[in-house]
């Protein structure tokens, strides 16, 4: 129905900064540390850790994403039938790629993440502090909120002590405000996905969101907001493209060349939940106990393969995107050996099939080669939907 336009400057500035953050994370960190010599850097494993606590320590939160590294040394620690992100991040860590970090926080999103957290704690704690933010399983009880508030207080205090700072209420309020603004802008970006599609294909849109987990919000937000302010609709249509929704786990993304195949196969991605775990979530309330507010916001966040609600269901989000984008099909992107996502997939497919929604499952790892069969699958799916 609509296509979009922004001045090339806002779009280019945003994409260039994001590409640099993704392609040269080490160099970007070094530059940031030069500009902020007294500040610290805290890495975090996807999907959820309270970045507010990291900002409140005056530190830069930076996501640990792994990548297309040939895994060899990590094989001595982690079995091969484990998802690629835990293997590649560990390989990077063994090569010293994270030695600039002062601390690393892990969420217990799955057995693999718990395993890698304990391997890192055993092997790397002389280089940086390793801690686990132990999240509650049940999300619908007041006891969970109270428990998580206490856990966040503990994590904040441990981190602050390690970094030699204190977290005062003012700093935490300021950090909460910053992260609320970041989430709001990223969600505005996501909710305009269908509009965005004409000028920004999936691979670039995913890069923009991913870069938001690497860059400091104060550097990233002005670029994103400038882009959003100039994003206007025009009358050009995407008539020749096939609208689809893409759904996948929020903790691992396929290689950009893999995501670019959606364009090559003739799809317009009008909705996705690819980075919902990192960028989704409700605003944290201000005023009152900030730890309780953070805990409450976590329990109200969107359902993910790694965060199940009893009353809000993941397929409802996909269906909503499907309806709003007038999509013709759904493509599930599932990391190889990812237990939470394969567990959800069966139910998600059943929900789609119940409604007669055509769907395709593509599995992936971080290997940057051999995309020919993926393109064939996507093109065959396009031929079904034509």
């Amino acid at each position: 129905m609509i296509a979009t336009a922004t001045t090339p400057d806002a779009r280019t500035a945003l994409l260039d900064a994001c590409a640099r953050a993704l392609d040269h994370p080490g160099a970007c960190l070094r530059e940031w540390k030069q500009r902020h010599p007294a500040a610290h850097v805290v890495g975090y494993f996807p999907t959820y850790v309270p970045t507010e606590l990291i900002y409140a320590c005056g530190a830069l939160p930076t996501g640990l994403w792994g990548g297309s590294i040939a895994v060899s040394r990590a094989n001595a620690y982690i079995q091969q039938f484990t998802c690629s992100i835990v293997r590649s991040t560990t390989e990077y860590a063994l090569h010293g790629a994270f030695d600039q970090l002062d601390a690393v926080l892990f969420p217990p999103i799955c057995d693999s993440a718990k395993l890698v957290a304990s391997i890192w704690a055993l092997n790397f704690s002389e280089r940086f502090m390793v801690d686990m933010v132990t999240l509650p399983e049940r999300l619908d009880s007041d006891a969970s909120v109270a428990y998580l508030a206490a856990e966040l207080r503990r994590v904040g205090a441990t981190l602050a002590q390690k970094l030699g700072v204190t977290i005062d209420d003012g700093a935490l309020a300021c950090a909460i405000d910053r992260c609320n603004r970041l989430r709001a802008s990223q969600q505005a970006f996501c909710s305009r996905r269908a509009t965005l599609e004409a000028t920004m294909p999936l691979a670039h849109a995913a890069a923009v969101l991913k870069a938001g987990t690497l860059m400091h919000a104060d550097d990233y937000l002005p670029l994103l907001d400038a882009f959003l302010a100039e994003l206007t609709s025009d009358a050009r249509s995407r008539r020749s493209k096939i609208p689809v929704v893409v759904s996948g786990l929020a903790c691992q993304l396929p290689h950009p060349d893999f995501l670019a195949l959606f364009d090559e196969a003739g799809f317009a991605v009008v909705g996705d939940d690819l980075l919902l775990g990192m960028c989704g979530g409700v605003a944290v309330a201000t005023g009152g106990d900030p730890y309780l507010a953070l805990a409450r916001a976590f329990t109200q966040g969107p359902p993910l393969a790694t965060r199940h609600h009893d009353t809000i269901h993941r397929h409802e989000f996909i269906l909503d995107q499907w309806q709003r984008g007038a999509a013709r099909g759904v493509v599930f992107l599932v990391p190889k050996f990812c237990e939470p996502e394969w567990f959800d997939l069966r139910y998600l497919k059943a929900e789609m099939e119940k409604r007669g929604i055509p769907n395709l499952v593509l599995d992936f790892d971080e290997d940057p080669t051999g995309f020919g069969p993926v393109l064939t699958r996507l093109e065959a799916f396009a031929e079904i939907l034509m």
């Binding site: 051999g370 069969p373 064939t376 699958r377 093109e379 065959a380 031929e383 079904i384």
Partner: protein, 265 residues
């Protein structure tokens, strides 16, 4: 009279089929793919034209399919999934499931009555459950690939090959040879191992009769026996099984030309 060409660029062979307005196959050719795919694609088309005495000017539309479809000159490109489905339903109108075991990959396809694809699954990057697996094992057994199927029919004491993986499978074959097992019995075990693998793929799309087998491996009687034994149903297999993808491409070319009135080249 107009003609329509389908060129299926497989990893080992390029298949070309030419059909006329009435959907009859008027010419076909199979040439090795080799390293120069574009030239081999042209050679396959030339060979088909010559074999059927078809005037090149009468070719109204050419569609390329197969893994190398983007590397040859054609009016349009369609995936091998869609083309195999179309070709299989043309030869066996009752087809609801297609199994294509090719040199490098294997596909299970569920189809509707008009040959449209309803669902499909493809094997992963590795050679397990493909023609390549058989090729490697034939070499390990020191028999010609073509003899592997007939040999397996003579088996009296089938051996078990438990590994799907080509590398581990080859080690198993070697250890069976060392234990003095007969080649015919090992061959039977190999076909059973692939059958189990491809049936897993078929189950992902749902098996509905009739099941038509396409691709070069369909010519292997040992493979067909193994699948039929496992599934308890009879497969549709045509003498044209190797060219079903190219046939589907040619039929889609015809359909597109007649529906859209695209101008001849």
């Amino acid at each position: 009279m107009s003609h329509f060409a389908g060129v299926d660029i497989g990893s080992l062979a390029i298949k070309c089929v030419i059909v006329n307005d009435a959907m009859d196959i008027v010419a076909k050719a199979v040439v090795p793919t080799g390293a120069r795919v574009a030239q081999a694609g042209e050679a396959a088309l030339r060979a088909a034209l010559e074999s059927g005495g078809v005037d090149p000017v009468s070719i109204a539309l050419t569609i390329a399919t197969g893994y190398g479809r983007k590397r040859v000159a054609a009016d349009a490109r369609v995936t091998e999934i869609t083309c195999h489905a179309r070709g299989a339903v043309h030869l066996f109108p009752g087809t609801r499931t297609v199994l294509d075991i090719g040199g490098q990959d294997t596909k299970a396809i569920r189809v509707g009555a008009k040959g449209e694809v309803a669902n499909f699954a493809m094997n992963d990057k590795c050679a397990a459950g493909t023609g390549r697996f058989l090729e490697v094992m034939a070499r390990a057994l020191e028999v010609d690939l073509e003899d592997l199927g007939p040999l397996s029919r003579e088996s009296t004491k089938p051996q078990t090959i438990s590994s799907f993986c080509t590398v581990f499978g080859e080690s198993e074959v070697v250890s069976h040879i060392a234990d003095g097992a007969e080649i015919k019995d090992i061959a039977r075990g190999l076909h059973a191992a692939i059958a189990q693998r491809v049936i897993g793929l078929l189950k992902r799309v749902g098996i509905e009769a009739e099941l038509t087998m396409s691709g070069g491996v369909a010519r292997n009687v040992g493979m067909r026996d193994a699948i039929e034994r496992e599934l308890g149903l009879t497969l549709n297999v045509s003498d044209e099984s190797q060219i079903i993808g190219a046939l589907g491409a040619a039929l889609i070319a015809r359909q597109r030309y007649l529906n859209t009135g695209e101008e001849p080249r």
